[in-house]
């Protein structure tokens, strides 16, 4: 067992504890950023002027009429920006644009004494636009050649040879929708200028350091002149990784210009029409199977719908490529990726970060091809699992492939899958207008940021003279329970009861240069850093205790707030007494901790390396029932076994699995983003811009029976106290629901029917799948059969491969930072 993963006796990690802020949440005392408004004097409110065109040039902007509105204090425009007029890191996201890039793009911001004054002021601003041709859908973008960013290729073996030797070759196309985050708390920032020009921004952000960087470059300040704090978020899901920066910068700009605190809080309509979402994708593919249904080759080109700016689209695409294999061994692979540039919101991180999209492509292929191969979909999936010694297409050995098998077997057994499948067959035989199906799908998800440099974290731990402990780390809390886990890690390492430890909000002046709380890596990275800081303090205290107990420091044990020697008959010292004594001996009682994930390497120019510390596994079985008249369906039962390593906090982890699954099911079955694709003046407008038209999972879509278990014997050597990350992987367990719907729809046709199911598989989409099954019977227009098939488009050689700044030589990096 590694020092990082080994647990001491009676650890606080692994205990079932409630969320660290639960007591505040259930009494309404937990503070979110916008709750500070009531506590801030002389606050101004910001309101955007949103453009009513998908693509247009701003030919005139007259702010004078707004200034005449009572209560309007100032209008912020591009001329006001002292630094760089850009809200991103790629210099393609002007904060105050002269060219409108999507419907609802904010061209300027009005500051008012009240929100209402600012709103009326925004209505009064006069803007003239010269409309320009727009690209709204990913298909339009492909046709127009409208792409942005690098176009990577992931390749192993010889895909043509693989397809040529395959017994069965199929090819097809697949397009699927993105997803709105709909975190319940919309974007919010409050900025103020402290003494001496120090800017203080409170922001609902998953990435305080980057918010700080962007506020600084917009204001033309250095990072040390800007502090960003995130109290907590009312949900993030990736939507607050890149997106908060611009709003924070607007607030900060307003605060520096007016000398008053400025609040920018988006209402729901603004939030949903202005901020980026999960990328929808388009895929063209060819796949080859041998006579037994073993995957031989995969040739695919994925095109993501990037929206108007690059944002995080490149790393999202990289993760999609790295996850297209899901849990399956494919000898010969070629996958191309490209990012379309469309006149839509800038699509961004969303739980899974491209991984779900990559995996969905292959799961869809398996779901469509299984009937054509005459193999049960569950068998087809199971027989293609990775086995020990195999590597992913990008060259990373797949460690612990047996865990996918163990999870699968456990789901089959505890979920009574075999007997239920017999019941379902009997039910379907007896019912003409209602069909049931059960599908079982695996997840293998790589943990770590693809980009090696991001896999570092810091923490600051203080032990006060009275023995109480305060910790601070670089991660942010958005409900995922990171802070709860960090408190447990600190209590475990210091050997004190949980209530000795408190946690202070995330701030850039406490822990600098943090990575986003993203990629599920929050607990791995920050946990490593908290543990490191606590160990430094514990080692110093062990010296003091050793002297007092007369034992070597290495033999001192910390447990439950008591300190003693290894032999049980030694004296005991109370933790608080030891701390006080150490203080008088002038021992440093605080420490800064640091952690970096070892053993990672990644070269995105050739798409090879070992970017992930480990893989998290899970398996889900879902049973659905579909009504043949309407396509309406219900989820009768879901069984999940998921691998979280040795759980740091079981209650938190189970909650993440349940919530992730439901969110994934929302993406795949309910949540239908509709953009106006017509030629009307409203072209490009998001039509589903409220919870009234954008259907989120609610109580009524809950599985009627929902069983979630953690995989046992799942210790992970390479992570803090043997745990595994849990934030993202469970989302992809929801593939089981989609595949069950496909199978239930197919059950309306003759045996061996393959159906093409749209995503999201709304009741309407399921209805059309049922119709397809009934009408087309054994004919499958949506999949072409035979070699060479429809060859996916290949890059023409003149586009750059992904080459992020952090992987360039240091000299070049330096030149780049000097530019800023």
């Amino acid at each position: 067992m590694s020092a990082l993963s080994e647990r001491p006796a009676n650890p606080v990690v692994g205990e079932t504890v409630p969320h660290e802020s639960a007591a505040l949440h259930v009494t309404g005392r937990a503070l979110y950023t916008d709750d500070l408004v009531a506590r801030t004097r002389d606050l101004l409110h910001g309101y955007p002027v949103q453009a009513p065109h998908a693509h247009a040039r701003v030919t005139r902007l007259d702010t004078a009429p707004a200034l005449a509105v009572p209560g309007v204090v100032r209008v912020l425009t591009a001329e006001d920006v002292p630094g760089v007029n850009d809200a991103g890191i790629k210099h393609d996201e002007p904060l105050f644009p002269s060219e409108v890039m999507y419907f609802g793009h904010a061209v300027c911001w009005v500051l008012g004494e009240t929100l209402e004054a600012a709103r009326l002021g925004a209505l009064a601003v006069e803007v003239d636009y010269e409309p320009l041709p727009s690209v709204v859908t990913v298909r339009e973008a492909i046709e127009a050649g409208s792409f942005q960013g690098a176009q990577p290729t992931m390749e192993r073996g010889d895909v043509e040879a693989g397809l040529a030797r395959a017994e069965h070759v199929f090819s097809g196309e697949f397009e699927f929708a993105g997803q709105e985050h709909f975190y319940l708390e919309t974007h919010a920032s409050i900025a103020q200028v402290d003494e001496n020009g120090q800017v203080f921004v409170q922001s609902s952000t998953q990435h305080p350091t980057e918010t700080q960087d962007i506020v600084a470059h917009v204001l033309g300040l250095h990072a040390h002149e800007v502090t960003v704090q995130c109290l907590r978020m009312g949900g993030g899901f990736g939507g607050k990784e890149m997106q908060p920066h611009g709003y924070a910068a607007v607030a900060a700009l307003g605060a520096t210009l007016t000398g008053r605190p400025v609040r920018v809080r988006l209402n729901r309509t603004q939030d949903i029409t202005m901020t980026g979402k999960r990328h929808g994708f388009h895929a063209t593919w060819r796949v080859g199977f041998d006579a037994e249904g073993r995957l031989q080759a995969l040739d695919a080109t994925l095109t993501s719908d990037g929206g108007w700016s690059l944002d995080l689209s490149e790393p999202v695409l990289a993760r999609a490529l790295c996850h297209i294999d899901n849990a399956y061994w494919i000898p010969d692979v070629r996958v191309n990726g490209r990012i379309s540039k469309t006149n839509k919101t800038s699509q961004t991180a969303f739980r899974g970060f491209g991984g779900p999209q990559g995996m969905l492509v292959l799961e869809d292929i398996l779901g469509r091809c299984a009937p054509l191969l005459g193999i049960d979909p569950a068998d087809l999936r199971r027989r293609n699992f990775y086995t020990e010694g195999q590597a992913t297409p990008y060259g990373q050995p797949v460690r612990h492939p047996d865990r996918a098998v163990a999870a699968w077997d456990q789901v089959v057994q505890t979920g009574d899958v075999d007997s239920r499948r017999r019941e379902i067959a009997a039910f379907n035989a007896a019912h003409q207008h209602t069909k049931r199906a059960l599908a079982i799908t695996p997840v293998k998800f790589g943990i770590s940021f693809n980009l090696t440099a991001f896999n570092q974290a810091g923490a600051l731990v203080h032990v006060y003279k009275d023995g109480s402990v305060l910790i601070n780390h670089g991660g942010t809390e958005m409900g995922q329970g990171l802070h709860t886990k960090m408190l447990q890690v600190a209590a475990t390492t210091l050997g004190v009861p949980l209530h000795f430890v408190r946690l202070a909000p995330t701030r850039t002046d406490k822990v600098p240069n943090t990575s986003a709380t993203a990629a599920s890596s929050g607990a791995d990275l920050n946990g490593g850093a908290v543990k490191n800081a606590c160990e430094q303090i514990r080692e110093r205290l062990a010296q003091v205790a050793g002297g007092r107990l007369g034992v070597p420091p290495a033999d001192v044990r910390f447990e439950g707030g008591r300190v003693r020697g290894l032999a049980h008959d030694t004296d005991e010292i109370r933790w608080a007494d030891l701390v006080t004594q150490a203080y008088f001996q002038r021992v440093q009682l605080w420490a800064a901790g640091f952690y970096r994930t070892e053993g990672l390497h990644w070269d995105s120019t050739v798409f090879r390396g070992e970017p992930f510390k480990y893989f998290a596994y899970g398996v889900a079985a879902a049973e659905v029932e579909v009504d043949g008249f309407t396509g309406a369906y219900r989820t009768r039962r879901v069984d999940i076994v998921h691998d979280v390593g040795d759980s740091l906090s079981p209650l938190v982890d189970l909650g993440q699995i349940e919530g992730g699954f439901v969110q994934g099911a929302g993406w795949l079955t309910l949540e239908d983003l509709r953009w106006d694709e017509s030629d009307r003046p409203t072209r490009g407008r998001l039509a589903t811009q409220a919870a009234s038209t954008y259907k989120l999972p609610s109580f009524s879509e809950m599985p009627e029976e929902f069983n979630v278990a953690l995989l046992e014997k799942a210790h992970e050597e390479g992570a803090v106290y043997g745990s595994k990350a849990v934030g993202e992987p469970p989302l992809m367990l929801a593939f089981s629901v989609r595949e069950a719907l496909r199978q239930a729809a197919a059950a309306f046709g003759p045996p061996g029917t393959s159906v093409d199911l749209a995503s999201p598989a709304t009741p309407e989409a399921v209805f059309w799948a049922v119709e397809q099954a009934r009408a087309r019977a054994a004919e499958h227009g949506h999949v072409a059969e035979g070699f060479p098939g429809m060859v996916p488009p290949q890059p023409n050689g003149d586009v750059p491969r992904y080459h992020p700044r952090s992987e360039r030589p240091p000299a070049e990096q330096h030149a780049l930072s000097a530019e800023v």
């Binding site: 005392r29 409900g479 909650g655 929902f706």
Partner: protein, 158 residues
Amino acid sequence: MTRISVRVDGVDYTDEVEPRTLLVHYLREQLGKTGTVVGCDTSNCGACTVHLDGRSVKSCNVLAVQADGHEVTTIEGLATGGELHPVPQAFHECHALQCGYCTPGMIMQAVDVLRENPDPSEEEIRLGLEGNLCRCTGYHNIVRAVRQAAGAREGAQA
């Protein structure tokens, strides 16, 4: 401006409000009751749920003037005498929250559901809370918490 008199969480207030002011904005901005939050603005999510004369309402869908002469209870007024009410207690214990943003509204709605039906089935709980959205938990633990709270209340009454 219109003058209203409201009793909120046991305290009497008389205030000037604009006729267009929503109850939730009055609570948050004028009274500083930030325990009640706004999620959707369109009366879909229930995050803003409070009680008006003991019945749950979505306070983004009620004008402050409509509360004139009435009694409002928010999440902050639910605790009595320093003791946690059984519903918040159960939410706490069952991990029925993650980001917590839906929690106050969810609790206020659950209290109303239990007032009408002290011993609801799982199905009845789902139906009763249907108008409240949670983006984090997947709802499973929320249903569990409401069942636990129902049990606790029954236990206390027996």
